[in-house]
Subunit: 266 residues, 6 copies
């Protein structure tokens, strides 16, 4: 996956929340490049993540795990469990991104020596550098940008060396902007465009995670999005179930059940 | 659920294969009356079934479990785990249905005395009968009819006292007819119509489990189907994922991934 | 445990249904000799049983597992999982007990040769006998006697060589007698006394599983019961919770919640 | 639950530690308003908590989860898993309570903007406020007060806006007072009375978690406790098992096993 | 795997009993063609088997599952869970092998029609045959031959059409011969040689499962074994741990712990 | 275990990563004193750790758990789950060791009072001290020393009162020294010798965790190591599987698969 995004290719994925052993085959048939495993909002722990990562990796689908908080220890646990990349949520400060880079690009170096290296990424001995590069090969380091304070510091944040990509969390961003779920509001759109622009200037891949119709992904793809993180098993199953059931009940003369998308936010 | 189908109401459900704790809320939002939990083809064991049954029952959604073979011991285990009804697969002989009735309507009676009761359902002492009726209140006894030998003995099979409903397995039935997956073939359609007709003569509810577009359910509903067992989480998620991804990739200029429904058969 | 019951000692146990890792320490503190793990009514599968058996055995508490049906394959699976003894439910015929003896006393012998050995337990070669005796050392073979047909054949059933003990299932027995839950009815009491008498004549241990007050165990202990299988975690927790809550609510002036013991039957 | 405690009603619950699928029905039969799920001392992770929360909520029993440390990220994970309220343990500083309020009352707001809001809870835009109020409706925010430093700062701690209730941890409190397990010591009693008094002045509900006889709850209920968090499945099962077994063994002439309540502390 | 054994190639595997998510990578590094997942003796249920099968298949390692008894329903469940082949234990009669062939080569055909087809494997309609062949493509049907009665009927057993391979269970075979664990006894060796000879005459692959030193596999490979099912994770871990610990303790001057291989039998 | 190491005895253990219920018996047969359960690198959560700890403790084998980061809350959770000792990874500062001592030797004291006690371990009231000593009896407090900054502060670190033992992490240490995996390099060897020397001066037990041949343990045992933490189930199984498979394939004329030890690092 890292190679693909570094070469500017579009990669495709969805969020998988179910541990069902029949799910990975569905992702494979749908031609996905990656799956997004969200441990921030979904109750998945290390054992479940490890099992899912092993299966997806064996299928050639990159498992990208979001950790619940910007905690480098948690990032390392997920990499040990088989993740190919980490998303840290709600980053607002450069040191949070640096810590993530430390976990993704410089392990098994830790502690005070790692702090020194992060303060000066060029100051590392070549033989050790080579060892660490091999150890961390292919790891994808992704920052969730989803708040006004992050927007205000965007140039600084996205310039942190070692960062590979940006995920925009539209729900949190809309709330931080004081425009909850108003994804068509011009202020919201400007914010997204700004993130795309600065991400691209820094040669970072960028994606936005919507759980609605594919049109939203297509619209933003045209604006430069190249990480297509589209919806989730939860939302896709729920949307199709409701639309099918509504059609059947209507045919049966039952007054239609209201469509309800609450709970689809990840 | 038993009351609803006895009064001729249409009931709505889908097949749930994932144990994800976020799933039941989706079923609730979609207004389902029941869920079909298939332990014949899906690797779900007693512990998982028990957890799912507890949650669905607490939500007022009836969990109906299919057992892997016509085994009354297995039926009892699933009832103890919290099922509200049992589907036994591929029934072809009246004694198989009687054994199922024994498990659903006469427990905790077992062994030789149960055999005697099943041979003569009127010969049971009234006080014991009353106790057993209360114990088994609301249990739904469902036969899978899905083969030519079953079709040939249909009057006899569906006349077994205690049976409440019939589930048609279209995939197995089409194969037994020598017409694999030819669901529009007139011979297949005649077979389905025959099952509906004789089920209704015996005052049994009847359903057919398709994992395709809602049009199939609607078409058969007009022919008299009143157990709407529509698709599965697996198929619904897969279908919507593929259609969304195809739309997105097309917009990106990627030649579309072929739609593939294999693996959706339950 | 086998040694203790063979020497006529009373052994004490309860039924454990929860897989909680904090439970075994409670059993240990209560001074139990064995625990009864019921896979007939409780949704516990091989993995859970294996984990529970390992821990209880390591504590010196014998795990005795009831299988869901008189199936020697299932008995072997539970022994492989770490059980120290097996209870087969609702036995009514000598061949069912013989099959259980085959699984508990003659494994790994199987198939046609085992059938031959069971037909003539003396006809086995001494060196092989010695090997099998060592392999099966300490295994406890227990029959559930809980029906009128079993009562009628009791001498024959309890004379099967290799059987070690009898568990009386009072609930099933009362139903088979047409006296559901009438545990003080003289016909019920006579049935229990008959089982105790013939068990003792055959030098078998005998127990009865009640989930009510300890007085019932004490009363039957005086009649000769020496396997004290008293209540279950489910019933004990429920009874104490209800009695404590009733006391608290009464003190708060809330009209007492009705005591309800349904669901305590195992 | 929030409504009930805000209106001054007494609510009743126990601590549930077992994940057994048969447990929730026991809680329902006992007429509980809430269950206390303790992830501080009991090895329960997100997946287990999510399953338990789904089932209890569907039954109308509020699941209240204690997190292992005062960590707002962990509080959010438990709310996402289905908790209706959070207890944070061993709080001693107002900022710890504010962070908890942030997680329970202002999500999905996070990061620097949340810090600003917590510093001035009135400074939030009305439309956003309305959105956040709806999102967090019914969430119950509970502080564990169980140490001398907390007692010393009690007025300040319990005045934090957004806090709904106080749980007293008697074991930790007795140790912090230098009076381990001396729950009848006047200094201990004065401390509890002080917490009750100040909680009530701030219109907060208040409870104390004992795992002993109901008399303790009743005694403190008379002093003003209105969150009855009585004992745990672990303690209730253990206490009843020991008392029943002691009665049986005594009748058998076995010298009684010593009653031992260690291990019942949660 | 089926192609390889049909073309006479040697295939290599071991028995995996642990569900640990880090295990499959070890099998991959060791260059295995298949893994043997034994549900006869090891407490693994459908959910665990399904997870293991998904991961091993994704890695290109064929999961071969042994079922606990010759039960075609169980065989189908394991195939649905992702197995690539089935071993049925302790087969002694041709109808047992035919039922296994029915489950592995003719599904989803079931019931009376399947019985008819098994009685006359040529009497099936070509279009249906083609459908079934595609459905069952690559499935490997394996019989455990491990008893004297099976030896006596070997020609008949191994001539059943649809059977692909034979697994010899040396432990059971030695017991059935009255020579427990005497794997070097000439009578035992003659029995193995006979099985190899007749298997090869029927163009079947053949393997023998030892959990000892590789020399045994090598010795029998030279006699014609081409399914190398060598040892198990359990035995390999245990043997290496004991030999390393003995070396270390000897160096420490501790008198060596006795090597003990009991418990390594699968 | 604490008694043994305090008296200077050598104790023997391995790292167990698999939750398989058949594993503990292997550890028992191998005569281990302790097992090392690593939650830093291995995806094991509280529920799995709790189950493993219960079983190992019941067998008289001490479960020693490594936590993922120097977090006293996590240490307490693992002690509550049944651990007999805790290893905290990559310690470089005295306050990190003090916090660990707080969690292992002074619980249930917490918060500000604990901080005070840690600042002055003699300033605690005798009756409370006695209570806490009993509560924490036998707990083993272990520091992972595996970096240059830790080496530089070694005297100070190992002098923290309450610390019982030191585990050397050779992999991390070699990287911190800029000598990745060069375990025979004189600079690496000098570092290990220094740790052994200062540990022994402070009367601490000391171990080093290699996953290679037993010779490394023996060599360092002669230098003073007395906690033998040798290899892991993962490495032992992998090494033996590869060596056996290589022998078999060589005999079959297959060009040997390269031995590969990557992935064995814990």
């Amino acid at each position: 996956m890292l190679k693909k995004i570094k070469s500017g290719q579009i990669v495709y994925g969805t969020c998988i929340t179910s541990t069902s052993p029949t799910w990975p085959a569905i992702a494979l048939r749908a031609g996905l490049d990656f799956v997004f495993l969200d441990t921030e909002h979904i109750p998945l722990e290390r054992m479940e993540i490890a099992r899912m990562c092993q299966t997806f990796r064996a299928m050639g689908i990159a498992p990208i795990v979001r950790i619940p908080s910007p905690d480098p220890y948690r990032a390392c646990q997920m990499m040990d469990a088989g993740a190919e990349g980490i998303v840290a949520p709600y980053l607002e400060r450069p040191d949070q991104i640096e810590e993530l880079v430390g976990a993704l690009k410089y392990r098994p170096l830790k502690g005070e020596l790692l702090d020194k290296v992060l303060a000066n990424q060029d100051g590392i001995d070549p033989p050790l550098k080579q060892y660490l590069d091999k150890w961390n090969e292919g790891n994808v380091c992704i920052a969730n940008i989803e708040s006004v304070p992050a927007l205000n510091r965007l140039e600084e944040l996205l310039a942190v060396r070692g960062l590979d990509a940006v995920f925009i969390g539209p729900h949190d961003l809309s709330i931080s902007l004081g425009l909850p779920e108003q994804y068509d509001h011009p202020v919201f759109e400007d914010a997204v465009k700004k993130i795309i622009r600065i991400a691209r200037q820094n040669n970072l891949a960028v994606g936005i995670h919507f759980s609605e119709s594919p049109e939203r992904q297509i619209r933003w793809m045209k604006e430069g999005i190249n990480l297509i993180i589209h919806s989730s098993d939860l939302a896709l199953f729920s949307q199709r179930l409701q639309s099918d059931m509504n059609a059947i009940k209507e045919a049966a003369g039952v007054t239609g059940h209201q469509s309800d998308n609450s709970g689809n936010v990840v």
